[in-house]
């Protein structure tokens, strides 16, 4: 059971994930640096008092006691947290500090996530999870130290990749369940409604409802296909392409390029075409 988790693997895959996620986190923190105080500051859209109310502060069973965000006590520190997160993200991209900087990014992401869990954006849960797994092994590639760009295979590299892969599976299952909970995704209306709201990249006029319905079914089907392909070893390579199909739906219907970017970063943990990929085991 789970024997493949303890096999050494090249750190290249996890290094690529780290670099891509570091870039996404850097953009995320730049946006928070610009307008974070406007949302979570003392006079923000959701001030501390309302934030505490929404997490069910002092209500038994809500677990609000475990929400550790320092922004509840020091709401003025938003620029500092976002700035620290930005610097740590850039260090993660450059491969400086490895686990320490990864942990700092996770902490800064969590600080905002804990502050207003109901205002969490779509890309945040997956991004914060990936950074947690990167603390197991952030890879070795460092742009500043080209001599160690190719490192030996490590079990921790494999474990971090496997963690991301399993988490992605559960996340897609969750995403699918959230859609199937609504009749709009069953009767094909969801895609057309999202197009009408103009959130995504796809703009259609009246008469193209059939395309909206087709995209609705495609979104659902791609997630089902991802889940099925990830469960079969010989279909694993196909799961990445199904995930790209899902990313297309995200962009066309939601226009959420940050979420799409995180999904693409997570897709690196999935095997690519095994007939074409060069063996990179222990080499670069």
């Amino acid at each position: 059971m789970m024997t493949n988790w303890f096999v050494p693997f090249s750190p290249r895959t996890i290094s690529m994930i780290r670099i891509v996620c570091g870039l996404i986190a850097a953009i995320h923190f730049i946006l928070l640096l610009v307008n974070g105080a406007n949302w979570f500051g003392p006079q923000g859209w959701l001030n501390v008092e309302s934030g505490r109310f929404l997490i069910g502060d002092s209500v038994p069973g809500t677990g609000s006691f475990y929400r550790w965000s320092i922004l509840f006590w020091y709401p003025e520190s938003i620029p500092w947290v976002a700035g620290t997160g930005l610097l740590a993200s850039l260090a993660v991209v450059a491969g400086i500090g490895s686990r320490v900087t990864t942990l700092i990014v996770w902490f800064c992401l969590g600080t905002f996530h804990q502050r207003a869990p109901l205002l969490t954006l779509l890309h945040e849960p997956m991004l914060v999870a990936i950074f947690a797994y990167l603390t197991i092994d952030p890879g070795r590639n460092s742009w500043l130290q080209p001599g160690i760009s190719s490192g030996p295979d490590r079990i921790t590299s494999n474990m971090a990749t496997q963690f991301i892969r399993c988490h992605l599976w559960i996340w897609i299952a969750f995403s699918l369940a959230s859609m199937l909970a609504s009749p709009l995704w069953w009767n094909g209306e969801a895609g057309w409604l999202l197009i009408q709201r103009g959130r995504g990249w796809l703009r259609l006029s009246e008469g193209w409802e059939w395309l909206g319905q087709l995209l609705t079914h495609l979104t659902i089907a791609s997630q089902v296909a991802i889940l099925c392909c990830m469960m079969r070893a010989d279909w694993n390579w196909l799961s990445r392409w199904m995930l790209y199909l899902f990313v297309v739906s995200v962009l066309l219907l939601l226009g959420d390029w940050m979420y799409a970017s995180v999904l693409i970063a997570a897709s690196l943990a999935l095997p690519s075409n095994h007939f074409l990929l060069e063996p990179h085991h222990g080499s670069n």
Partner: protein, 230 residues
Amino acid sequence: MTNPIRNEKLARLTHSSRSTISLSTSTKGHRNVGDDEIPIQWQWVLRLLILFHFFAIALTYSANWRRSAIQDNTLGSLQPYLIAGNWYQEMLPVEWISDSIGQKSVRLSIQTTTSPNDWTPALDASVKNLDQARAQRLLHVLTELAVSEDTQGLTNVLKSIVLHLENDPSKPRLVGIRLESHSDSSPESQAESILYEASLARFSNGEFGFVPKLESHRSVRSLNAKPGTP
């Protein structure tokens, strides 16, 4: 005829290979197998921890849809790990489209002292800017609170919004606020239904409160109503 190179690639890519020996035959020579192996006892400990971790996450995610009492109790005991570890996630921010109001978009409009008869959009998710994604989330939360008739929760969040909008002393003060839905995504479209509407009552101590607008189908009989009419 089997192709050993292709089989090895497949084994690596699918991670289905158990054998560290087959990997150790790599000609790259970067790795000493003995250094990388984890003792079998520790492997079992790690397996249990990994299973626990993903069990907790799967439990959290699935509990957002429907949950049983036993699931709720288990989640309650796992809260320190799930919440403090940033693993706890609710469904509301994950939903692409809200089922509560069907086909309509939602926006928050205000009346100010300078134009007490006009409703001006204050928070509109259809306006594309840096805040759009968060605005959609906040409107989603407000909509769910309004639809579920959680007036306490709704007014609590609205209070924060009013304070934010009145933060700048140069801006006019608010006299009314309403959450409205509309099917057209353009900002100038008319409201089709009102989810919540209230006027602001100012108190002498500087505080304010919300006085909800009575609905047209009020249950209290009008004084001049004809006998037999509700």
